[in-house]
Subunit: 102 residues, 2 copies
Amino acid sequence: MSTETIGDKLRTLRETNELTLRKVAALIDIDVAILSKMERGERRLTKQIVQKLAKIYKHDTEELLVLYLSEKVVYEIGDEDLALKALQVAEEQIKYNKTKKK
Amino acid sequence: MSTETIGDKLRTLRETNELTLRKVAALIDIDVAILSKMERGERRLTKQIVQKLAKIYKHDTEELLVLYLSEKVVYEIGDEDLALKALQVAEEQIKYNKTKKK
DNA sequence: TTATTTTTGACATAAATTGTCAATAGCATA
DNA sequence: TATGCTATTGACAATTTATGTCAAAAATAA
C-alpha cells in the first residue's frame, strides 16, 4: 500500500513538470523555503496551496485533497490505540451530519 | 444515532455522580470556568482530562476517549466534502502503520 | 433574600504557526 | 577549480491560537 506522503507526491509532480521550487513558489506566492519544507513535511500544507499546486501540475485536485486531509487526520490521532475505533465513530457522525444538516 | 457530544456526556456523568463543577475541578486541578467551558464545548478537552474524568465518574475510559478522538476528527475535517474519502484513506494508512511499525 | 453553582467575558501568558531572510549545501557543467 | 543555479537549513520576528486566572453576572435552589 501507499506509504507516500503528499509532500513526496507534490515533489514528484513538480519534477515531472520540470519546475523549480523558485518558479512554483513564485506562482503561488510563497517563500521558496516554505515550499521546500512543505514538500518535505516540515511545514504544514494548506487546502488552498494544495489546490493551487494541483492546478499548476494539472493533477486531480480531489485526489490530492483527500491525501492532504487524511494525512491531517493520521497526524492528529494516528498513534492512538483507539484510532481505528475513533475513525469509525467519526465516519458515522459525518454521515449523520450530511443527512441532517446543510 | 448519537448526536451527543462528549461534553454533554461528561456533564451527564457528573450530574449522575452528584458532583459540582467546583468539586470536580478541584479533583483534576483545573479552574471551574474551564471545566464548565469544556462541558459546553467552548474549550478543548485533553486526553489526560478525559481519562481523569472517566476515573472520577467510574465510566469506561475507552468509550470516552473514542468519543473524544472522533470529535477531534470531525472538528478538523467534518465539513469537508471529501471528509469520508479522507477518513477511509486515513483508516488504511493507520492499519498499514500498525502492521509495519511499532 | 441568601447561599451555592454555573456561566460569561476580560485579560495576561504561553505555545504554536507562519513569514522572512541569509547563509550554507548540493549539483551540474564549463 | 570556479561559476551558476537549485535546494536546504536555521535563526529570528511577527502573528495567531490556545491556555490559565480571575471576578462579575446569571441561574438555581433553599
